[in-house]
Amino acid sequence: MLQGWMIVLVSFAYLGVLFAIAYYGDKRAEAGRSIIANPFIYALSLAVYCTTWTFYGSVGRAASNGIGFLPIYLGPTLMVALWWYVMRKIIRISKTYRITSIADFIASRYGKSQMLGGLVTVIAVLGVIPYISLQLKAISSSFTILLRYPAIVMPANSVARPFLQDSALYIAMILAAFTLLFGTRHLDATERHEGLVAAIAFESMVKLLAFLAVGAFVTFGVYRGFGHIFTLARATPKLEALLTVPNTGGGYGTWVALTVLSMLSFMSLPRQFQISVVENVDENHLGKAIWLFPLYLLLINVFVLPVALGGLMLFAPGGVDADTFVLTLPMARHAQALALFAFIGGLSAGSGMVIVETIALSTMVCNDLVMPVLLRQKWLRLNERHDVTRLLIAIRRFAICAILMLGYIHFRAAGEAYALVATGLISFAAVAQFAPSILGGMYWKGGSRAGAIAGLSVGFAVWAYTLLLPSFAKSGWLPAAFVTEGPFGVALLKPQELFGLSGADEISHCLFWSLLGNIGTYLAVSLIGRPGVAETSQAALFVDVFHHTQGFERSQIWRGSASVEDLLPLIGRFLGPERARDAFLAYARRRGLAGLEELRADADLVHFAETQLAGAIGSASARVMVASVVQEEPPGLDEVMDILDEASQARAYSRQLEEKSRELEAATAELRAANALLKELDRMKDDFMSTVTHELRTPLTSIRSFSEILLDDPKLNLAERQRFLAIIVKETERLTRLINQMLDLAKIESGNAEWQTAELDVRDVIREAVDATGQLFRDRAVELRLSVPESVPSVLADRDRLMQVLINLLSNAVKFCRPGEGRVEIRLAAAKGFVRVDVQDNGPGISPADHHTIFERFRQVGDTLTGKPEGTGLGLPISRRIVEHFGGRLWVESELGKGATFSFILPLGASSGAGEKLGTRAVQTTS
């Protein structure tokens, strides 16, 4: 005989153990030695997914729908397989921006929208309340049934019972008390709940073991193994139908719908987000959870069918609710301890869900619903309160109690109309509405705030119309005709056959229409509208979280001014002054600063403060609070786009950078070469100056010497006096000639020479040059021959310059000829496109090695007759430059001892254009 007090005592003892585990977990966490920092604990805590719905409801569902209970577990199994891509990204985003709930996640993604956060919270609370009521109902009825042990009596309709005799009320209150203890024990709004996670993991073990114990008891104790049960079941046609898909409810369509639904819910349920994201210690734990969690689901489902079939075969039809088989089967066999263990397993499944769900919801209610409203109420003077952490905790505690009471009210109201699983599915369908905004927000930058609000609203409205309202009708709150005939008799609007879609079960029907409306509106509104600045930058931060985590240059976007004196107390109000101070100090240390006084309130500090605050009151409220103490200049959309573009184009930039650095190397090499050339030129200039100096000093030396000699010795005889004076005059002339030629060459080289370009007959120029050098030839008795054709085409050139060239060549030839024996021949010839002039002598000749040298400045090649040759050493360089100026070429052909021939050519037709152009330029430069 189980006494009531004993059940209560064991229950409290169990809850006490839970609390002890949580307490120990928190202590260890404070000591920095986390007990939950391992993937097994993480995977076990994820099993908070398995509630009394699983513990009791699966068997109930299996008893009516056979293997139709499975999709609820296939969905998460499939989802977990995608976790490395999806959940890792959610975790990374949430850790980076200190996101604490699913409402915060969605609000933050769409520009830290308070409205969106509020909307998500409302949907979550309304959607999840039936789910909580389900837990209350399950715990309450299991308690009531166990109380009658060994008799098996189904509890009477609880609504019929007076309020204060309803065990569900006390269960709700006790769970509320425990949730307050677990979730809001500390005056600390942001920390993860390490102890809680440990306790949840423990609960997952307990419910699994309890279920396995009952399953093993039924399968191997009552019957003789799986084979025995299934063989017996096959013998009964009604039971055999439960074992094939087409005969279980809506068939394959329902299977697909339920699988998709549970996939989305597994991601969107507030408690799953709390456990898998907020309480996650290390994203690498996902790696093990990916196979551990499905393994857990497999284990807890192994005995569902045997228990269901066993119950159906053991109990008279209609006598015992299949939802209670897990408890009533051990009771029927008088397994007292096992029955108690089963009850504890159910308690652990229910309490785990309630505790985590209400904590998650209370955070959302506080951060995304209450705080935004409170902060807007100026009369509350929240901004002036020194420390509002107590207020935050109070709001959360109140929210926990309120949510549980709502759950209880729903329990009382909904009554017995729904089985456990059906109630749970209504909640699933509600939270599944978050999925489009979450997934769209993570992978599509185009998703906008307006789109998310519209999509969520439409999805939620359709859910309420097709699932919630009909449930009210079933409970008797609305006329049954609303469902059967449609509102106002409009058949097309029948809530469960909307627009004539019939043949689907209510969940598939709701899922189809709500997600269609939700996704369609989300996409359409996002595509039509133009997102704001905050949305655009948040979109990029979320979608590209793996790129932005380290590299994003926040300071580029942010313009404003702030002070540490404003920020620190602000954070202190919500986190507590001590914690805020510690956080700022730690931040300063990370930056290598000695203390708070060195902190500069720059973009990064403001962001840090906002992130800290977001952990406590949600990102949307945090944004508002920080903006209240920081003078900010909102950046323009274009600016944000530019910066985000830049950030996402980092790779392109680094490629450009590499290119630039290669260019730089090339430029460096060029510069080095140019520098070497400049040094060489500098050295050449030095040499040139030295040479010029030498050439000038030489005539000066003679002039000075003889002048001094003449000055010192007035009695010098006349002949010598005249001889010396003649030398002086000759050297003076030489000096003058040298200076003139140097200036001439400099002018030609710098392009400042004057050119009087005209059509010339080269024959005329040659004759004039011969006349001008006639005396020279006669003096030296050198013969000159002329070989000039009857007529030659004219060339474009400067007559005086051409004369200069010819005279230079002729006088050079004379100079090197042996007097009396010398012979110089000048030839003129016209060839294709040019005229050619040769000046040939029979002098000593020039060694081929010197052919190049003689055209350099001051480079004379001496002859052996007179020692040093006369002349400045500038004649040939000047001549060559003149010829080249007219587009021609001057060169020498010679060998030692065989005379020398200096030749030049001048172009004809081709030169006329160039010549004119050069002429024009000359006029311009001289004008």
Partner: protein, 124 residues
Amino acid sequence: MSKRILIVDDEPNIVISLEFLMKREGFETEIAADGEAALEALARGRPDLVVLDVMLPKMNGFEVCRQIRSSPDSRDLKILMLTAKGRETEVARGLGLGADAYVTKPFSTKDLVAQIKRLLGSGP
């Protein structure tokens, strides 16, 4: 017995003036128009002093100076270098090779004569 001076320069007019100046002071002179000719003249007979231009055909004055100094016979032969290249490095180079004096062109006739007399340690 009068001192003998070898004049080495390739500028005829400068040679004329130097010859005149030396003879006026009572020295005997000998002429060489390039570096090789200078070494040949030295091989024929030893003068008391060489007036040596730097820019010479065939062999420059520095080389001539180096060769004079490397031969034991002419190690104490007085050398006066004469050049139109007045740069410091040239002066240093000439003195480094063992020249006794260095005069840049254009020179003062009085200075040149004084320098030569000083090097020869006596009047004519």
